[in-house]
Amino acid sequence: MLLYGVDITSRLLLGTAQYPSPAVLAEAIRSSGTEIITVSLRREAADGAGQAFWSLLQHSGCRILPNTAGCHSAAEAITTAQMARELFGTTWIKLEVIGHSDTLQPDVFGLVEAARVLVAEGFDVFPYTTDDLVVGEKLLEAGCQVLMPWGAPIGSGQGLRNPDALRAMRAHFPDTPLIVDAGIGRPSDAAQAMELGMDAVLLNTAVAKAGDPAQMAQAMAQAIDAGRLAHAADPMEPRDMAVPSTPVLGLAELA
């Protein structure tokens, strides 16, 4: 999978918030096999005082995808992205512009506006968006080369609320990397996203809040591999009726 010219093998992107401890986080990163971790800049950035935690993340050897979590306007997200570029020395930015503080729905208008500005400033923008096709088009027009549609509201763990919309997105944007971001609760949700032909899955709470985050990270990674293999293998279509899977030829004639 090519993300802004970088070849990435692991299809799991992992968030770094809400873990019981940095040691547990490090273990989850290792067992997930992820190559990309996201880190929120907002609060930790205060006075550049989050250095101790960041250096732990940098020691993980993963590529860091800073995010603008918690930003409620395009201007705020742009400023945060600029700070992230300084601090982490990367042009990658996961762009979140939150429209509603309770549901954490993306503000797609602010998102497109911020994406346009950031692309012009040389950023590689990973926009957290809805599954709306027109918004997706606008983001591509703005210069995004990746789309990150939600599966369900952030942190809800509800799984894919609207798989048909994601399927439509896949069909509409056949050549754009699509990463399902937010809403994954269980490995079966991640597998379903990959079966729909998504390129990758980004998740955080489902692993961080599991009883054993490292074990859940591994389960997610395996589910993502399984879903991806299944998509490539072209699964059968469901049928309305039973169809015997055993050949009838040569059945014993019991007199």
């Binding site: 940095p22 040691a23 547990v24 609060r43 006075d47 005082a49 989050g50 101790a52 935690f53 809040k209």
Partner: protein, 321 residues
Amino acid sequence: MIRIAGAGLAGLATAWELVQRGHEVTVYDAGAPGAGSVSRYAGGMLAPFCEGESAEEDVVRLGRQAAAWWAEVTPVTRRGTLVVASPRDRSELTRFARRTTEHRHVSSAEIADLEPALAGRFSQGLFFAEEAHLDPRRAMRDLAALLQKKGVEIQYNTPAPAEVDLICTGGAAQLPELRPVRGEMAILQAPDVDITRTVRLLHPRVPLYLVPRGEGVYMIGATMIESGSTRPITLRSLSDLLGAAYTLHPAFAEASVVETGVGLRPAFPDNLPRILHHDGSLHLNGLYRHGFLLAPAMAAQAADRLISEISHEDHRELTTA
């Protein structure tokens, strides 16, 4: 004579353990009484079982005896912890119950029995009957006074000599892997609210605990931010905390915010305390958010360690709690 650097929670608790083992102790602290210690911002919860929700098993195990230990030093309120959640966050309660032990489910009526002020506000909750709390500032004063009564010299405003036997200087110690975790809290004066035990309000983004300090005073906390910034509490954190308090009981709307505070918890990567050698000195550090809960057990370990090292001067190896 055993010399300890740092008159915070770890230093004073270890001094008490040493005194009880018959040793003479001097404690040095570069600041005024209580000035350098972050424990003044603590909740003072002695809640090992609730902490088990996100902490390692060691925290539950080491914290079990904390209430009994502190009761010999300072008043301890043993009325348990009540954990509640609003109806739409009920799944948080399910999760909390699954991850913890020593609790029972309580109905709306039982909540009303336990805390009449919360009658009709929550349809279900969890009650941790064995848990307790104390007043951190009072506890630190009482512990220092007790030590002084037993002949321990606590030299405030005095930098420690170059060679001491144990260093308990928290975030000021330059230890590898030790990091600050910022916590923000507020103290409310709410004469109209009468809550008698620690209450935790679960919420996916803004969990809250409220610890009564008596006479209508409540401590609410606390944020956990991976940052070493000591700037005053942010508007966001303060409004989150106050909003959560208001959710717990609308009468908090009339409360006075009498204090806000920010402290940096010293923590190792696994968020567990450690007794370790560094640069030729023994350290007790990394109490993180479990200062009052784990200080007794860690102080006992540190005291044993010091005494055995004094008797075998050359025996030095690094261990973990």
